[in-house]
Symmetry: C2
Subunit: 194 residues, 2 copies
Amino acid sequence: MFTLYGDKVSGNCLKVKWVADHLGLAYRWVDVDVVAGEAKSPDYLARFPMGQVPALELADGRRLAQSNAMMLYLAAGTTLVPAEPFAHAQMLQWLFWEQYSHEPAIAVRRFQKFYLGKPDEAIDPALMTKGRAALDLMEGHLSGHDWFVGDGLTCADVALVAYTRVAHEGGFDLVEWPAVRGWVGRVEQALAIR
Amino acid sequence: MFTLYGDKVSGNCLKVKWVADHLGLAYRWVDVDVVAGEAKSPDYLARFPMGQVPALELADGRRLAQSNAMMLYLAAGTTLVPAEPFAHAQMLQWLFWEQYSHEPAIAVRRFQKFYLGKPDEAIDPALMTKGRAALDLMEGHLSGHDWFVGDGLTCADVALVAYTRVAHEGGFDLVEWPAVRGWVGRVEQALAIR
């Protein structure tokens, strides 16, 4: 039994929860209210110095942060983490790209627009440009493939779907990216989250 | 024999080169001038749609992007990539943190200050704040540990040292972070890059 610290409005937290649920793992969930600053409280920082959610605590007290590292740890040895070395590397490629080029645009714009209620003109226009470029790249890949790596669901799909499926809350209408929209449906079905 | 596409002013490219050299791997290096826009040329984008360096091409034509994914692929099965599951997860934790919370502050500020020659007042002050926070977090860890994971060099150290060792070019004087400075020396010695 392990403990997941997270906020259910955060796609990064949901990634890890979905993987745990999909694999039927038993865990305790502890809500951490990010908007209220609970991830920056002295108590939380003492345990998780990165000051972010999600975070994971094992029964023996060992702790881990970073959503993608947590997913890979929980899913090791399952089909969600390809064992073949090049497929494994492709999965990692998409996970690093997600955290560098997708989340900082699409999730950040969604947070500002949907949760902070900022009007469009108060949001850095670079977020829309970068977010659209990320969706274009995904569309290119998904026009020729059903999944990001190989022929089934992997952690790459789980990571990328987290904020893509709520991209409209950030002002990105997936009607413009039909292959992405089709893939979101496949991933939601595979994870039983629709 | 594989091919590495990269720009030697980019720490992300050097990470992969250092790992290949450290492991004695044979490869061909192709210079890509990022400042001149060569990573966004139609020819490069056709092969590497993410439009970034470094990138890797295997002898059979398979391609991979994202520096940290490339390092892990090349170093799989060596001591640079811990096999024990939790240590492996800790390494991944630091690699994802590096790409999300360290590189976008320290590498970006260095690029703007050192390569674009921007005066300090023209650089987003958030980059200094975020970069200092990243160095503070590293200092906290390194005050109690010689390496980021376990008791020897791993890909986590290689990734984090790439821009930390040139942080002064971005306006971060490592005199303020003595444990980080000591660790930089250890990693440089282990990689024989000093």
